[in-house]
Structures are given as structure tokens and as C-alpha cells.
Symmetry: C2
Subunit: 411 residues, 2 copies
């Protein structure tokens, strides 16, 4: 007997028949003798509709009211799933964020969970009652409904699992696990049976959409074992059919590289002929930060004559136009010659905790790309990943090449 | 300067443009210097959809979960209207039932309001802030979301008006007031400028759908002046464009009859040849009460031979089949000869507090119907109304005749 938190996303509860299906899955765990809490998202499409309502009323809306509006989607599914569970003979009740309560700060629309009072849920779970918790939402210290930002239900689930001391948090979604890379592009992509928190964090922040970044951070911090698995496929006979996100210690044979992520959501900006003097970076990136534009990769070229330099960096594609505007406004102060913007780029990253102890991982990447005539525009590295920016047209070629080079292809 | 509670129904907040329209109406009252609280229903169609979700999951569902699901509709509109008001430069915030709180009993799906804590709303209204309250919902002593039953937003509004000591509760709807009778049937129907609580209560319970019965009871109990008016029509220059529901004292010239209501939602049952002995009524209506079937009009004919009698009564059309079943099951005990069921009937009622002091009102009704060859099947009376059951095909003829006879036709 274990204590489990199960989380079901929007497509998993997308209509009444699917909610029934979720109830059957929950029942399996209850019948197996487990103590179960369930976290649900809104029915797919509902949150978008509610967000659209808010936006169409006012371009600048009160985030507290936005939260009251959008949190209603999870309220509906929590009630419906409780009814579906009761219909299968299972004792269950719904819990809204304010009922538990899931206390958050008051940064509305992207609140952070501060504390979950599990006293009552814990007591009831011990009696066999299933707690059906509305994901994505909490309550602020001022007694207002708060939400955790898009994808926040993953975070709700992991936080609840941590607070309840659950043995595992199962994130049910529409894919059956975490893959070595995108299987729609690389047919030989393999499902990983295990991946470390650190790797999953890089995968999530580098474009793999399977888990929300903050939920992985929280899982890592509280050492919550997370499984990603499919709501729609059964894997009979398998105890852990999905991908388990766990501590490094739990992975016996660690591959050098676990996965290859890519993000098309990048754009490159180059400032040509910037005066090369102390403080130039601060003068460039200060105005961007003020405009809430996140800068990711940064490269500063060595200047030939020692008086000017080229500064290249990447921003989110959606921010490109604003970034260029901000820099054009600051042209006099920055005294660069011209701006070159390019949105036809892709960031490709190889990720693996094995890199820590093995040299040559980056070199192998550079060579594989060079062999295929792919020019690397920007490089950035961290302890467990190497990212390169290349022309977008090479996405598929680069992914397939790297997948083979690092020995990730399916047998 | 007055303190007002404004209530807007589902069609009034049916889409984003209409919510903006509501915001403009609220702004007019704020600009006029009034302290304003607004009560909103769910967008039209939303509650039905949510009810349908619950029903399609389980025929017998937990009313506490049903309440969590259906209360979400009002949550959405309260947040959206707060945003729309802020967009017009008005300080406003949404309030859910549990935030105020509006405390109810725990008879879920048809809860009764026990207490409204207005401390905080009252304080804020005095500073000019508009309270946008989600109608239809409250919170039980067990901290579960409760709802007040269909049309409950009217009750929320009146209860809030009473608790806030508001000067008036304006119920905005899709008709511009209370009419002497249904203007779709009687072209000469007149809008009433004033009507008493007692009359409104009879009108509401006899089929006029403009206000929920319980809200009128509550208005009467707490002497809340209620105005029914249209969201969609402007009545320039008029201070009170709708119909005011008030205490009898406020109506200077009271008509003998104020209105004529009708209900097609009736069915007639006759038990022929029931043994005429003491306790027969109890034996008939006991099983119906046990089956939660409401019986309305009752007539017991005098038996010719002194040993049997005919018992005629009406039930709601939706309950007719069940009523017949219940009575057939009890046939041995009741020892009647046969059951005659008839659903092609209509109940027509003339209503007026003036009846109390004037004789002959019923007689005039009976004569008017007889003159037109309309046979009266059942009669029931109260202090301020006379109801008759006639064949449904006479509905229009009877309404028009009575409207003229009682001098209600428009000049």
C-alpha cells in the first residue's frame, strides 16, 4: 500500500466520457489498496475560453479578477470527477484551493504556493476517501482566489505530493512518457524509463512540453518521485509504464546523454559595431530587462581593432520586435552600427548528467553538426547541457544526427 | 444618495458585450452618487450546461459536488463584471459566497441563506467601491459551496439588500416589469407601476416567471423594496421605469384585481368511487407526499349515495405519471373504482389584495367564464386570489375575457 497523487491534464478530462475513464483509472489504484489524491486541470479549451473573455473585456485586467474567472475551470472538473468516482462506489470529495487551503502569495496569475494544510485531507485519505483537488489554484493571504500560471496543475500535484508525503506523483497526460527527443521528428526516439530531475528540468525549459518547469523544480527540491504516463494507453503488466523522474541515485546506469531537446521559440539579435568599453553589456541588457524581455544565450565577439565588438544574443520569438524597438531607442547611448535580427533559428540542446564526469560531449556535438555542414551560430553550456543555435531549416537533420551520435537510437 | 443592490440575470450577462452594457448601467448609478452592490447570474446557457454535465455522469449525484460545479458559472460573471467596471474607471471587486461569507444551511442544491456577514462589503461600499457578488451561491457551515436552487440569484440579491439595509433592490431582467397578465397572449396587458408583495408572491407562484417565489417571500419578510426592470430598454426621464414591488401602504389607489396569472404546468387526477369514510384524504395524499409529489387544488364531491365520493386534485404535469402509479399501487387500500387523469388543463388565477375588502370578485369570474361557455373543473381560493382549472384550449379566451372584465385593459 502506498500513498499516491495522480494528476490529469486538460485533454484527459476533456469531456464526460474521458472523466469517466479517469475515474476508472483512479479506481484501479484505490482497488490496489493505495491512498489516493487526484489533481485535475480544466476541461481542454475551457481555460483558453475564460482567458479570452478577460482579454476581450479589457486589455489590462485586474489579475485578481482574472484568477477568479479562470480558476472556475478546475472547480468544475473537480466536482465532476468526484461525482464520477462516487458513481463507481468510491468515497470521494472535491477540494478547492481555498477549502484545503493551498496558501499562495498574492502575485496573482502566477502565484507561488507557500503552504498546504493537509490535516483534513490526510485524515480522510487514511479512511479510504479520495481527495479530488482542483489544480492550478490556491488562495492568497487576503482570501482571494489565486492561480499558479499556465500548466500550474503540475505544480499543484507535485506540491500536494510533497505535503502529503506521497510515494509518487503520477502525471497523466496525452503522451506516454519522456522521450530521448521528439518522436514526431526522430522516428528512432526512445521512451526513457527514468530521468533525473536535473535533466528533466533542462528538457522542460528547453522546449519539451511534457512537464511544467516549476513543477520539476519543486519535485527536485522536495525529492518527489514523479512519473509521466499516458491517460489513454494501458501498459498491462507494467508497474511503472511511464517515465520516472527521480534522484540521480535511483538511476543505476546513467547514459552520457539522456535526451536532445529543441526550441523553435528563439530569435537571434546581433548588435554590430558596439563600442567595446567596460559596462557595454549592462547598457545593452538593462533596457531589455526593464522591458521584461528575457535574454537567453549571449555571445560577445572579440573585436578586431580593439574599439568595437559584435554582441549576439537570443530572445523569445514573441519578444523580437519589442527587443529591436528597445535597442533602436537606445541607439545613441549604445553607439552601435546596426542591428541584425533573425527569427529563423532553432536552439538544439543535448542534455545529460553524465556530462559532469565525461569530457568530449560538446566536441562530439560540434563535429557531428560540422560533418553535415551545419553552421553553429551561438553556443552556450551548463554543467549538464550543451546548447547551440543553428538555422531553423536544419532542425530535423541536426536532431537525427545527434540522436544517432550519442547512441540514443532505438534498437 | 441611496444604497442600491442591482441584480442582473443570465440573458443580461449573456456575452461580453452585454457584460459591458451592464457595467455601463452600474456606472450610471455610481455616477448618480449611489452606493452600489451588484449580484450576477451565470451567463445564459452556462448553468444548464453544467447541470447537464452532472446528470450525464450519474443519475443520482452528490448535491455537494453538483453545487461546486454549477456555482462556477456565477464565479465567472462576477470576475468579468468586476473587470468591465474597472475598465470604466470604477473601483470594483468580485465576491464569492464563501468570501463574504453568505452562510447557508447544508441542504445542497436548494440551500437557504442563514446569515450574510456584510462588515467588509459595507465598509468598502462606503468608500465608493462596487461589490460584485456571485449570485445563487453561498457556503455551508461545513465550508462547502452551496447553491440556492434555480433562480436563486434573485434571492441572493434580496437577501443582500436586506443585510445591507439597501433602499431598493433592482432586478434587471429581459422584461421591463410585471404585467397585468402575459402580454404575449393579451395584447392589452398593462405594465404595473406598483404591486404588493402578496400579489407578487401569488403571481410568481402561479406562473409569472419574472421573479423567483422565494425572493419575493424574503423581500416581504424583510420589507425590501424590489424593482423589476429591463436591462435592454432605457426609460429616459423615469426614476422608476419598472414595476416596484412594495408594501401595501405604498400603494395609494389599490385596484380590485391587479393581475391574472395562468399555469399550464398542471394536471388533473380524479379518483372515482372512493369509499367515503373518515381518513380517506389522508390515505390518498399520504402516499403522494411520501413520493414527494406536491398536490395543489383539491375538491371532494359530495357522494350521492353517502358511501362513495369522487376526489379530484391537481399535480404538476411532470409528476402526473408517477402520481397515477403511486395511486394504482395503493388501489386495494383506497378501494376506488377508477382513476381519470387529464393533462390538458390550465389553472387561471385572478389576484388582488383588494379582494379582501370586496365581495363578488369570484362571482364575476365565474360569470365571465360561463358567458363564454367555459366549464370550470376545480376552484380554489385564498384571501387575495381565485383560481380555476379549465380545459387548456380556453387559455387565451379566458385570459382575455377576465382581463376586460376586471378593467385591466390598456386605455
Amino acid at each position: 500500500m502506498a500513498r499516491l497523487v495522480l494528476k490529469f491534464g486538460g485533454t484527459s478530462v476533456g469531456d464526460i466520457e474521458r472523466i469517466r475513464n479517469v475515474a476508472r483509472k483512479v479506481k484501479q489504484e484505490v482497488d490496489a489498496g493505495h491512498e489516493v489524491a487526484v489533481v485535475v486541470s480544466a476541461m481542454s479549451g475551457v481555460t483558453n475560453q475564460l482567458v479570452e473573455y478577460c482579454r476581450s473585456i479589457s486589455r489590462i485586467y485586474d489579475a485578481r479578477e482574472y484568477d477568479a474567472v479562470v480558476a472556475s475551470g478546475e472547480q468544475v472538473t473537480s466536482g465532476l470527477l468526484a461525482i464520477a468516482l462516487q458513481d463507481l462506489g468510491i468515497t470521494a470529495r472535491s477540494w478547492q484551493g481555498w477549502q484545503i487551503p493551498i496558501l499562495t502569495d498574492d502575485v496573482h496569475a502566477k502565484a507561488r504556493i507557500e503552504r498546504i494544510d493537509t490535516t483534513e485531507i490526510d485524515r480522510r485519505m487514511k479512511t479510504g476517501e479520495v481527495a479530488v483537488v482542483a489544480g492550478f489554484q490556491g488562495v492568497s493571504h487576503r482570501n482571494r482566489i489565486s492561480t499558479l500560471g499556465r500548466g500550474g496543475s503540475d505544480t499543484s500535484a507535485v506540491a500536494l505530493a510533497a505535503a502529503l508525503g506521497a510515494e509518487r506523483c503520477d502525471i497523466y497526460t496525452d503522451v506516454d512518457g519522456v522521450y530521448t527527443t521528439d518522436p514526431r521528428i526522430v522516428a528512432k526516439a526512445r521512451k526513457l524509463s527514468r530521468i533525473t530531475y536535473e535533466e528533466m528540468l533542462e528538457m522542460a525549459s528547453l522546449g519539451a512540453k511534457v512537464l511544467q518547469t516549476r513543477s520539476v523544480e519543486m519535485a527536485m527540491k522536495h525529492r518527489v518521485r514523479v512519473q509521466v504516463l499516458s491517460t489513454f494507453e494501458e501498459a498491462p503488466g507494467s508497474d511503472l509504464p511511464g517515465t520516472l523522474v527521480v534522484d540521480e541515485d535511483e538511476i543505476v546506469e546513467q547514459e552520457l546523454v539522456s535526451g536532445i531537446a529543441y526550441s523553435r521559440d528563439e530569435a537571434k539579435v546581433t548588435l554590430v559595431g558596439v563600442a567595446d568599453r567596460p559596462g557595454v553589456a549592462a547598457r545593452i541588457f538593462g533596457p531589455l530587462a526593464d522591458a521584461a524581455i528575457n535574454v537567453d544565450m549571449i555571445v560577445q565577439n572579440v573585436s578586431e581593432d580593439g574599439t568595437t565588438t559584435d554582441m549576439t544574443f537570443t530572445v523569445g520569438k514573441a519578444d523580437l520586435d519589442r527587443a529591436v524597438q528597445v535597442l533602436e531607442k537606445a541607439k545613441d547611448e549604445l553607439s552601435y552600427r546596426r542591428i541584425v535580427a533573425d527569427s529563423d533559428v532553432v536552439k538544439i540542446s543535448v542534455i545529460g548528467v553524465g556530462m559532469r564526469s565525461h569530457a568530449g560531449v560538446a566536441q562530439r556535438m560540434f563535429k557531428a553538426l560540422a560533418d553535415r555542414g551545419i553552421n553553429i551560430q551561438v553556443i552556450s553550456t551548463s554543467e549538464i547541457k550543451v546548447s547551440v543555435l543553428v538555422a531553423e531549416e536544419y532542425t530535423e537533420l541536426a536532431l537525427r544526427a545527434l540522436h544517432t551520435v550519442y547512441g540514443l537510437d532505438q534498437a
